[in-house]
Every structure is written in C-alpha cells, then in structure tokens.
C-alpha cells in the first residue's frame, strides 16, 4: 500500500479502536503477554460505556496487580493482602450510591483472603469482584497457589503438585456460587479476541447488576496466563492454558440471577 493511502486511512474519522482514557498512560508493570493488562482495560471500558466512572471506587489487591491504581484512572484504594472484599464492604455501606469493585488475584482472593471473600459473598454485599486466576503466585516468583493444577510445576512444587501432600486445587468460583448472597457468577478468559469480547460482556453484566439490583454480589473470574511463572512464551502459555487450565476451570456462566445454571 502506498504511503498516501495509509495516511488517508489513519484519520480521526476512521478511528474504530483506541485505548480508553480510563487507562492511564503509565506503562503497565506486567510481564509481556500477561492477561492482567487486558482485564484492566476491559473493566475500564465497561465503566466508560456505562458512564459511571466518576462514581466508581475500585479496590486494588496485593499481588501482581497491587499497582492497579497506577493504571486505572478511577478512584482506587489499595487493601491489605486478601482484605479487598472487607474494604469494599465498608466503602459500599458508607457510600451506597458508589459503584464498588475489587480486582484480585488467586493468591489474594483464594488463599489469604478466603474468609473475607466467602463472608462478603455470603452477606451478599452489593459489589463486583473481578478475580484473575492464573494458578500461581506471580509477583513473588511463581510459588504454588491454591489454584495450581495437579501435577503443575511451580517454584515450591518443583516435581509437580502432588494432591496427596499438597491438596487439590480450590475451585473457589464454584464454591461462592453456592452461597445465596451471590447474584451472578461467571468464568471467562482474555487470551483471544472472542474471549475478550465475551469477558467484557460478562463484566458489563456484573456492573449492570450492581446498579440495577441493590443487593447481591457479582463475581467474575478471569482465567489468565502467567507466562513468567509458568516459564513459557506468552503465545505458548495461552495454548497451555487452553489445554490444561480450561478442562479444570471450564469457561461460562455458573450462576445467573441467583440460579445456578452450569453444574
């Protein structure tokens, strides 16, 4: 294509996609190919589309996404390890008109924060929990997490996770789906364009539920890769995730409007 034709296309009136202004211009601290960046972006796109970003308070966890407040251009608060649902509970109860969400990883939500997660879900706090599950503690160097798959190698299970010694992976998403306080539960992924669009719809639905119904917690799990922790290239880690993570953590809606749909 000739240069002048290209410059003809690259024009503001032909714009179809650009990074949302709700993502700051800071360079993301995540590894190349990490699903966190995509999960951040689609969350911010949803808040922009719903027009509620001025009234939104997000809770950043401890983990790789501890600096989420540097990248998400909405009001944010950083919680102690695992305590994001407790902090979100306090914020939502003090300011019921605010849109409140937490953004947590599996080490944060499913290990140290299990009590906070389960009790916030059981109380039916009117918040959105976005749970990024990559089956490993990424930030601290790839240690075994509650969601590490059986046989999966990590720095603290170098011969693979032996379920007889180390226990089984925790399906916390299915666990919280059983609780009556939870309105919707879904599991998505962000490694292909189709999955990103589906995940964005799921997050949008969760925020719409929070705005429409004044009770019930909405839970979105995003199965993601951790190419550094898994010791793979980004593209290979996405393929590995499809082959190994998805059979154990199947994608799709688990609970819709208080009814379990996919058991």
């Amino acid at each position: 294509m000739k240069e002048e034709v290209l410059s003809d296309i690259i024009n503001v009136e032909n714009l179809v996609y650009k990074k949302t202004p709700l993502m700051t211009d800071n360079i993301l601290s995540y590894c190349p190919g990490c699903g966190h960046g995509t999960a951040h972006r689609i969350t911010m796109e949803v808040l922009e589309e719903l027009g509620v970003w001025k009234d939104t308070i997000g809770i950043a966890p401890v983990g790789c996404s501890v600096l989420a407040y540097e990248f998400m251009n909405v009001d944010m608060q950083q919680a102690a390890h695992g305590r994001a649902p407790a902090l979100a509970t306090g914020i939502k109860r003090c300011w019921p008109h605010k849109v409140v969400f937490t953004y947590q990883g599996d080490g944060d939500l499913a290990a140290i924060g299990t009590a906070e997660t389960i009790h916030a879900c059981n109380r039916g706090e009117n918040i959105v929990i976005i749970f990024v599950n990559n089956g490993i503690y990424g930030m601290t160097g790839g240690q075994m997490a509650p969601t590490t798959l059986p046989g999966m190698k990590s720095s603290t299970s170098p011969y693979g996770r032996d379920v007889h010694i180390m226990g089984n992976p925790l399906k916390i998403t299915e666990l919280v789906a059983e609780l009556p306080g939870v309105r919707s539960v879904t599991r998505q992924a962000v490694h292909t364009p189709g999955n990103v669009r589906k995940a964005k719809r799921a997050i949008r639905k969760a925020f719409e539920n929070q705005l429409k119904y004044k009770e019930g917690l909405n839970f979105v799990e995003i199965v993601s890769n951790c190419n550094s922790g898994w010791k793979m290239t980004p593209v290979h880690s996405n393929k590995w995730m499809e082959e190994n993570m998805f059979p154990y953590f199947p994608l799709g809606d688990i609970k819709v409007d208080g009814e379990i749909v996919n058991k």
């Binding site: 294509m1 034709v5 290209l6 003809d8 296309i9 690259i10 024009n11 032909n14 714009l15 179809v16 996609y17 650009k18 990074k19 949302t20 993502m23 360079i27 993301l28 995540y30 590894c31 190349p32 190919g33 990490c34 699903g35 966190h36 960046g37 995509t38 972006r41 962000v190 490694h191 292909t192 364009p193 990103v196 669009r197 290239t233 980004p234 593209v235 996405n238």
Partner: protein, 76 residues
C-alpha cells in the same frame, strides 16, 4: 461491492513484544520488527498492510493496549 481497508498504529515504546496480536490477526497483517524499542523489546508492526481490514482483533487482545485501529470504507 463495498470493502474495508484498515490500518493500525502501534505505540512502539509501550509495546512489549508478546506476539499475542500476531495470532489474533485473521489476515496475517502483523509481524515483529527486527529492531528493538526504548525498553529493548521487539515491537509489532504492519508487515502486510494491504490485507488489513480494521477488524480490531489485535487491539482488543493486546494486553498493553498499544494498538489503535482505523478503518475506512472503500467503494469499488
């Protein structure tokens, strides 16, 4: 028949060279540069700009949100 021509603009210094966009592109438009950016990563660019239809798949899947997509309708 109407046809769409697309183009992408990559924010070179923010690209981390993960190559996820290459697999997401249905028309094999994107390739990796032989040079590196300010951070030392190879960055993605349009190797095959004639084939781009502006579907925005690359931008949607880009973890760092570095791709901006343009699309123009071309009457034939």
């Amino acid at each position: 028949m109407a046809k769409f021509k697309g183009a992408i603009v990559v924010d070179i210094d923010r690209c981390k060279g993960c190559e996820v966009c290459i697999g997401a592109c249905p028309h094999d438009v994107i390739g990796m540069s032989s040079e590196v950016n300010i951070k030392g990563y190879k960055y993605s660019y349009m190797v095959n700009p004639e084939s781009c239809v502006g579907c925005a798949n690359c931008a949607v899947v880009c973890p760092d949100g570095v791709i901006t997509v343009y699309r123009k309708r071309i009457e034939q």
